[in-house]
């Protein structure tokens, strides 16, 4: 039985804007085991990235964690100061960012940017040793170690993404959060990278959180999948369950909007309406204005996020029993 390394409980995060308070993450709870990979999927603006950034407390100036706990190996991150968070960042939890293309500093050599992390967290001050480590990392992600003395602009998009992954793995973290790691890449490179990430994860034994709006990407790499809608986690189950027995109507809709290559041809179903403005989230269940099964209770009361059997969590008053 593997150990739970991350336990997020009732995490709520707000952005204070001039127009009012935006509740970007509302009451989100999940756990992550050692070596497990969790996928977070949802439309743009549903709060996936906000969840990821909250985990490392990499918050914008106007963002505030209003409540909840982020327990990493027993330590709650929420009350920690920026300086107290520092040792955990990258050493325990590292990130591959959404805009990995721009997440390397243009004026420093790629190798030096990795060495910087090694010096800060592992106390690896010897230049020769640090370069040895970078050589290992580059080989691991499939980059020519000679590239470490080049600048980011001399890399192609795929190479940069690999370098960013090498950097994320540099301090042997327990958890790597990959936020849309492949969005900017073409499908072929995307696929190669995802495979590589998966292999590396199995090799190193770290946990991963993948974040993407692309359910195909998530499906390929995740053991469990969490579906987010309007700042809420609406369903969380094993990848198999999510794909074949979705419970929440939003997940059902998401699956029907996704073509199957091998299955029978069918009309793809799209979901009417738009995700709500989080300045004024709908009352009750946030999905009710777009939900075909919505009733009075959905408008008035928020459904509880509860187990529908076998660790299949969902927050819905009218759980579906469909087989896709």
């Amino acid at each position: 039985m593997s150990e739970t390394i991350l336990r997020v409980e009732n995490l709520t995060m707000h952005y204070t804007t001039r127009a009012g308070i935006v509740s970007a993450v509302d009451d989100v709870s999940f756990t992550l085991d050692e070596g497990e990979s969790l996928g977070l999927v949802g439309e743009s603006g549903c709060g996936k990235t906000s969840v990821a950034n909250s985990l490392l407390k990499l918050l914008a100036d106007n963002a505030v964690i209003k409540g909840g706990q982020i327990r990493f190996k027993g330590t709650d991150f929420v009350p920690l100061s920026e300086e107290e968070m520092r040792p955990y960042r990258w050493r325990n939890i590292s990130m591959v960012f959404q805009a990995a293309m721009n997440s390397l500093n243009p004026v420093y050599r790629v190798g030096d940017q990795i060495i910087e992390a090694l010096e800060t967290h592992l106390g690896l001050y010897s230049h020769a040793q640090a370069r040895q480590r970078v050589t290992e990392l580059f080989t691991m992600v499939g980059l020519d170690p000679a590239l470490m003395d080049q600048y980011p602009h001399e890399y192609s998009g795929g190479m940069r993404q690999r370098a960013v992954i090498a950097m994320a793995l540099s301090c042997n973290p327990d958890l790597v959060i990959a936020d849309e790691p492949t969005t900017a890449l073409d499908v072929i490179v995307q696929d190669a990278l995802l495979r590589q990430l998966k292999t590396l994860q199995e090799m190193i034994g770290m946990s991963m959180i993948y974040i993407s709006h692309d359910i195909a990407v998530i499906a390929e790499v995740s053991d469990r999948i969490g579906v987010m809608y309007a700042g809420k986690l609406v369903e969380l189950a094993s990848a198999d369950e999510i794909f074949h027995h979705p419970v929440h109507p939003y997940t059902v809709a998401l699956m029907s909007a996704f073509p199957s290559v091998t299955g029978p041809k069918r009309e793809l179903q799209t979901l009417a309406g738009e995700p709500p403005n989080l300045l004024y989230p709908p009352s009750g269940c946030r999905f009710h204005p777009r939900c075909p099964f919505a009733t009075e209770i959905c408008r008035q009361q928020e459904p509880e996020f509860k187990d529908h059997g076998g660790g299949h969590y969902a927050a819905c008053w009218h759980p579906q029993e469909v087989t896709v």
Binding site: R86, F97, N105, T120
Partner: protein
């Protein structure tokens, strides 16, 4: 890179001759000439005045004089100054230029450094009361009328508080028995500054690969050692007190010029830094758990510096033209003062000489910054 520098040098030479021709034409376009200064002198007859004009070559047609000027310029001869007759123009420039360079290079470097440092901190800690005070104060000083502010500074620091000498660049009493001329000391000071910066830069580049923990000690040690060697050499040469005297005279003008101009760099750095702080690589640096200081200085400020360096070039060129006013207020006998008087009395060769000096300085500064840019931003490659 060598090819680029060669190309740029060619460009610089072309620009320079264009500048030469234009300046000469403009000076020629001024009504009257040097000999008319003596118009009021009843002891000089018309024939004598004409003889003066003829001896200075002023009776020849302008285009002929221009080509003769270019000819002698190419032979390294800038002619003889009318007002300092019979001193050659080159001689006057060699005497004045070190003083001006000393004053404006130090004030530009100091105000650039102060502006960059303050701007960096303002962007990092946004929205504090201090930000408003510094911004409003800086902009007020930036827009203030320079001569008035210069006089105010002299009145406060030199006259009332008596911390600094009032004007000039040396104390005559001290220099009466000096073994060398002031200019020798000036030149040596400039040379020292140049050598020290080159040695320190080389030292920093050579030691950048060593162990981070020891690097600090090595850097500061190197800087301390360099300073000690400089002090030692100056002390042993016996010129130390004279150099200190010049430094003492230099402080007030540098302080004034810094106060007047740091706000430009400060605001530019602040804006550039705020933009840089929104970049993704700053978030990466934060996620990497780097100390705040490293994120601010190494990641943000280093990138924010690029546009600021560009502005430095312009300020270098403007510093010299602004020198006319500042040198006047602080009675600093440099190029600015020469430029002003020679324009007033139509001392064409001297005026041309002063303009040529400014042009060469500005053009070379541009070249240096272009080359520097290639080192600051690896994305720039001159093919």
């Amino acid at each position: 890179m060598a090819r680029y520098i060669a190309q740029r040098l060619l460009q610089i030479i072309l620009t320079f001759f264009l500048f030469l021709a234009l300046s000469y034409m403009l000076l020629e376009a001024m009504p009257g000439d040097f000999s008319q200064l003596f118009l009021q002198d009843p002891k000089l007859t018309l024939a004598q005045r004409e003889a003066i004009a003829a001896s200075l070559g002023l009776n020849r047609p302008p285009h002929e004089r221009f080509f003769r000027y270019i000819g002698s310029f190419l032979r390294g001869d800038l002619g003889v100054s009318f007002q300092y007759y019979p001193r050659p123009v080159v001689d006057v420039i060699l005497e004045r230029a070190p003083r001006t360079l000393m004053l404006f290079i130090s004030s530009t470097v100091v105000s650039f450094y102060v502006g960059f440092f303050v701007g960096k901190l303002l962007a990092w800690r946004r929205g504090r009361v201090l930000e408003y005070i510094t911004t409003v104060g800086g902009v007020t000083l930036y827009t203030v009328f320079t001569p008035w502010f210069g006089l105010l500074m002299i009145w406060l620091f030199a006259f009332t508080l008596d911390w600094f000498p009032i004007g000039k660049f040396i104390t005559p009493r001290l220099w009466r028995d000096a073994p060398v001329e002031a200019n020798v000391v000036f030149n040596r000071m400039l040379l020292t500054a140049l050598v020290v910066s080159i040695v320190l830069l080389t030292w920093f580049i050579l030691t950048r690969r060593i162990d981070t923990r020891r690097r600090r000690v090595v850097h500061w040690g190197g800087m301390g050692l360099g300073l000690a060697v400089v002090v030692g050499i100056w002390g042993a040469s016996g010129l130390g007190p004279y150099a200190l005297n010049i430094l003492h005279h230099l402080m007030l003008p540098v302080l004034t010029l810094t106060l007047i101009s740091f706000a430009g760099t400060m605001l530019l750095t602040r804006n550039s830094m705020l933009e840089t702080l929104r970049e993704d690589y700053i978030t990466t640096a934060r996620a990497k758990g780097l100390p705040e200081k490293v994120i601010r200085d190494k990641h943000a400020a280093r990138n924010a510096m690029l546009p600021v360096v560009t502005s430095l070039v312009f300020s270098l060129a403007f510093a010299l033209s602004g020198g006319v006013i500042t040198e006047g207020v602080f009675s600093w006998p440099g190029m600015g003062e020469v430029l002003l008087t020679s324009a007033v009395v139509q001392d064409i060769p001297m005026m041309m000489g002063a303009l040529i000096f400014t042009a060469i300085f500005a053009l070379l500064a541009h070249l240096v910054v272009d080359i520097l840019y290639a080192f600051l931003d690896p994305r720039i490659r001159y093919g």
